[in-house]
Amino acid sequence: MRKFSVCVLALLMGACSVLSSCSEGAGTENKPSQNNAEYELWSAPNTEKILLEAGENSTDYSAVRSDAKIVVDTAKAEYEAAQIIITSKTDVDSYTVKTADLKDADGNVYAAENVVVYNMMYVQVNTIYESSRGGTPGMWPDGIMPMDTAVEYGLNKMSKNENQTIYFSFNTPAGQKAGFYTGTFKLTIDGKVNEIPVSVKVRDVTVSETVTSKSIFLDTWQYYLGEYDGTQEMLDLYHERLMEYRLAPGYLVTDYNYSEESAEYYAEKVLEFASNKRFSNYLLPVQTTSLKISSETFQLFCEKILLKSFESGINLLDKAIVYRLDEPKPSQAPYLLALNETFETAKTDTVNLFRANAESYAAKYKASYEAIENRACESFDAFLDAVCASVSAMQNVVTTKYEDYFDPDTTWCPLFDSYDNPSDLAMYEQQEGDRWWYGCIIPNAPYCTYHIEDYLLAPRVLGWLQSVYNVRGNLYWGVNNYADLQSGYQYVDDLYSVAARYTVYYNGEGWLFYPGARYGTEPIATLRLEAIRDGLEEYELLQAIKAQYEQTAEKYSLKVNIDATLENITQFLHSGAQINATTESFATARKALLDWAEFSESGVTFLDFTDDGEGNVSYRLFVPDGVSLTCSLGEGYGTVTNIDGGKIYQYNISLSSYEGEKNVRFTANDGTKSYSMDRQLSGKVEFLGGEFYKANLTSGAEDANTLMVDALDGSQTQWLKLAINGFDEYNKSENLGYRKVVVKGGDMISKFTTELSKATIKFYYDAPAGSEVTVSWYVKYKGLNGRVLVAQAVLKGGEITELTWNNIYTVQNLKTRAIEDFHFQYKETSLEANATAETLDDVYVVSLSFYGL
């Protein structure tokens, strides 16, 4: 039975709802769940997947179940969903939904037309590929069919012992007045009307309608097999559907070559989509021979698009991306080099062409361009400069992680998990232009996947991680692969019932839509797409806050470490690039995000957040003149410093002794309006020294040389000086190039339970600056083969470094299995893989800290 640790959330939601209706005065009285002999009605957070099966031996949803009501907390210009579940005790012949306008206390209306009701579709999952998420085979929710269509086709009925989700999507207009709206929807089941209380809190923040993230979600697969229609019109429909979900397609046309006629047509297509604010980017076709790009046809396509840019006043080349080489093998390194070199040549040739033709362009297009009201640049010359800059900056995305043997000028697009490799991450941070990443079957959960049995939160939190890691682009190989890749692509008789269409394991791999043809409708979206869009909307909110903080920093000459605040707010969503959010932790983080977006309007800026890895945390804020700030911590925690234009507030908390509320509330008031934001603290912290670590060592460290020594930083403590053995025989034979320390049993392992938020081990590497040792923390669970990597860090010479395993309480394996051992693997960057290493005796364990919930 699947268990959920969201009891607190259920209580929280109920409490919030009651609180809202009381405090804001316009709420609808909560009614008990409408249960009877035929069915039960209930609700669950929109981050949960509720399987079709009900009755005995089905999944237990008690932890996420609450009364049948709809509670939505949303920004403007944002989609946010809610779900009501009907659990049938007998067969249900029909159910229908009627929405209604919602109103706030002042009579403002949230129109019913902003709510789209969907009937959940279910697909049989036979094999659980993402086993770390704890799901079971069964009928999983996936497609969301407009309720009207479901009614038209007679799909609005149920058999006994089923859970049928009714999915409500609230698309709040940008112009909606902020406020608290309530009302009632009616769910009629076999003639009996059930009233569903609805409340929508519209925040006074707006999600950017312009999509600033980038993506390549290829949609030119076998859509014709599902839609029975291979025309450009159908492909356009998929493009548009993707853009509804803030995603960009790949190539815009289904049939092209490198002729002038084809280039002209492609440019027309680019222009056609450019008016859509959600059209973030597109793929530019490049003709290659042995992966050398033809400069001639590159220039042809670019110039055709340039001319459309002149006509429209939009820099259409700013959205062009090249993606020609997929997952190159090491042997293709010379080809990648040639691809990059010829790409640069083609771009240079194109800019030269544009410069050479500048006068003729001006003669023909300048007057008409400068007559365009909403043109990108004021002058024609500036526009041409901007276009040339766009061509020069155009990226050639290559789906590979960083490898030494590939051209370092590559625009890397690694798998998500490559961002957990500290040395790879350092390379991506140095890359010019936008950063990209992707997933394709792998990596498995807890990294993001789009697999049906993965958490719905995974693709949603990915949007947050893009902000955390400053990754702008996400690539996915197929959204409408309506075939089954077994030995070659095979036909699928019923695309609505086969979940695994990329071999028998990968449920949902290669497709994010269901064809609409069967039901005479547009392509049918999935919960997975909804989650992707939710995450990308939240990405936009985060990016908007970042932009605002940059302005504040510049205006007041402040040093702002927004990454630290972002990391703190998202701490319970992920551990590195691994996504281990729970419905509860996500609800907290989302509320914090919406609060933060509103709070930022006050001008109060979180300058920094620090955690020294020993449970001593601090918040540092800038408060501009004319704004007041209060903090729920009260006296004794804060200091205030005056600076030009405002004040700096600093709050320090020691979590090893702190006994107050876990939520720290900051309230700002600019004289006209009050803004509040909660920051969540970890639980109590247990701080232990290196001796504790020593007592639990099992092997890998030589007792004679592993000993407690005085701290090298002059502090009045002792550190554990490790003496880590050279490679063992296995290591040598496999050329793995690392040594390991094993911790097996003992007090240390027993501390790792689902009551733990995170654990941090501090290391010191006593080596010259520039020296590096990568330490990787692996866990072996009883009954499972192999070890799971939970944390990785690069120890730098002369520095103290933290190795942190985050969100331990969310780990499914910990809920059902005991830990057998830990392996800490040490790998020196400078050491050859097959070297005969001396004992590594420069690494010290400084301390261990265990953070409670």
Binding site: Y153, G154, Y228, D255, D493
Partner: protein, 415 residues
């Protein structure tokens, strides 16, 4: 080339497509016990309103165009629904648009693959255009995957405006020589290319299909019937069964079909074509421009069964150095073209021999079998499978299709 077949045999045709105006009187789903309705687009599957198993299983090729269910009574032969077909085809990725009607589905318990006693397949077409539209109907003997299949050659028939009954009569005697008639994967319905730059349906004719029926006969053809080939001949394209010897590779172009020489012009002289030996028929095929010729293998494959049942069956390893495979070929284009004969045994090694075809000239191409044997010594045993006539390097650069004629595929003793 000497004529190998009697008049009686010549009268046997693999498919005979008869377009007529006569309408069937009995419109029920199953007219008689030996007539199986593949689909009349009426069957409601469970609660799926407007959707039938008949349309759901239809496989549309990438550049086909569009099919959809029609409920306009004007275009319905029986019942209330029919299939609207809008064949387009590829513009750059030039292709003949066709759809496949599979004869097997494990999901839906459909199994009509056994054609060992099938006399004919009948279909009702409505041509909503004012002009004639060509259609070809045939068999898909095998489907390997969505991109790989075997397909019998196109034999074009004309759809006049309004209703047309198309009956494709199957000559089991001929078909069974080349295909496993107990396991036919599907039927195809092909149209000429009506593509547009915008890849829309602006040039696509509006056609409706109803009542696809398979008519079984009383006679079951024996499992195996020897191919009536001459001593050294594979085929001379004078017989209808010869159309199954060559298949296209599923990539753009080729479209092999048997034609009467007199129906085509020598583009140099504008006079009717003549074959090399004065016979009436030959095989026509085409070559079209593709986006990436270095990555696109286009051409014709020789049906393995045809090779196996030819002179090959008596060939010994000792004979190889003395035997050539040969054919006559005419390049009906104003420039020289390089074609290859490629034997590809499925491993990395392969035999490739090129031939330069002078414009507007019949030439004879020969390759000694020993050359192939040296690459794959399993060649004799497997009977020359995977033999293709293809073009990769220096592929078509013309914006219009190139035309070729091929005749008299045979073996010859080396002099």
């Amino acid at each position: 080339m000497k004529k190998l077949f009697s008049l009686t045999l010549a009268a046997l045709t693999a498919f005979c497509f008869v377009a007529c105006d006569k309408k069937e009187e009995n419109k029920s789903a199953n007219v008689s016990s030996n007539i199986v309705t593949y689909t009349s687009f009426e069957e409601n599957e469970g609660n799926m309103k407007h959707w039938s198993q008949g349309i759901q299983l239809i496989r549309v090729l990438e550049n086909f165009g569009k099919i959809s269910l029609n409920t306009d009574a004007k275009y319905v032969k029986t019942g209330t629904q029919s299939l609207c077909i809008r064949p387009a085809g590829g513009y750059y990725d030039y292709s003949i648009p066709y759809i496949i009607l599979p004869l097997y589905s494990e999901t839906y318990g459909l199994d009509l693959r056994n054609f060992s006693d099938v006399e004919k397949v009948t279909m009702e077409f409505y041509n909503a255009e004012e002009t004639d539209v060509k259609v070809a109907v045939g068999l898909i003997p095998t489907i390997t995957d969505i991109n790989t299949r075997t397909r019998s050659s196109y034999v074009w028939q004309t759809l006049k405006s309004g209703w047309n009954s198309i009956s494709c009569e199957i000559d089991l005697a001929m078909m069974s020589m080349l295909y496993d008639m107990e396991s036919v994967a599907g039927l195809y319905i092909a149209f000429e290319n009506h593509a547009s730059l915008a890849h829309d349906l602006v040039n696509a004719p509006e056609i409706y299909l109803d009542d696809v029926r398979i008519v079984h006969g009383d006679t079951v053809i024996p499992d195996y019937m020897d191919v009536p080939m001459g001593d050294m001949e594979v085929c001379d394209f004078e017989e209808n069964w010869n159309q199954y010897v060559f298949n296209d590779l599923g990539t753009p172009g080729s479209n092999p079909s048997i034609v009467k020489a007199a129906d085509y012009l020598n583009k140099s002289t504008n006079e009717p074509m003549t074959t090399m030996n004065g016979s009436a028929s030959m095989m026509r095929f085409t070559r079209v421009k593709v986006d990436d010729p270095s990555n696109t293998l286009c051409g014709l494959s020789v049906t393995p069964d045809a090779m196996k049942k030819s002179f090959f069956k008596t060939l010994t390893a000792e004979d190889l150095s003395s035997v050539c495979i040969a054919f006559d070929i005419f390049n009906n284009n104003p420039y020289t073209v390089n074609l290859e004969l490629r034997y590809w045994p499925g491993s990395s090694s392969r035999y490739t021999g090129g031939v330069y075809l002078a414009p507007y000239t019949w030439m004879t191409y020969k390759v000694n079998l020993l050359s192939i044997y040296q690459i794959d010594n399993n060649f004799v045993k497997v009977g020359g499978t995977q033999m293709t006539l293809c073009w990769t390097d220096g592929a078509c650069t013309s914006e219009t299709e190139e035309e070729f004629f091929l005749d008299n595929l045979r073996f010859e003793w080396s002099k």
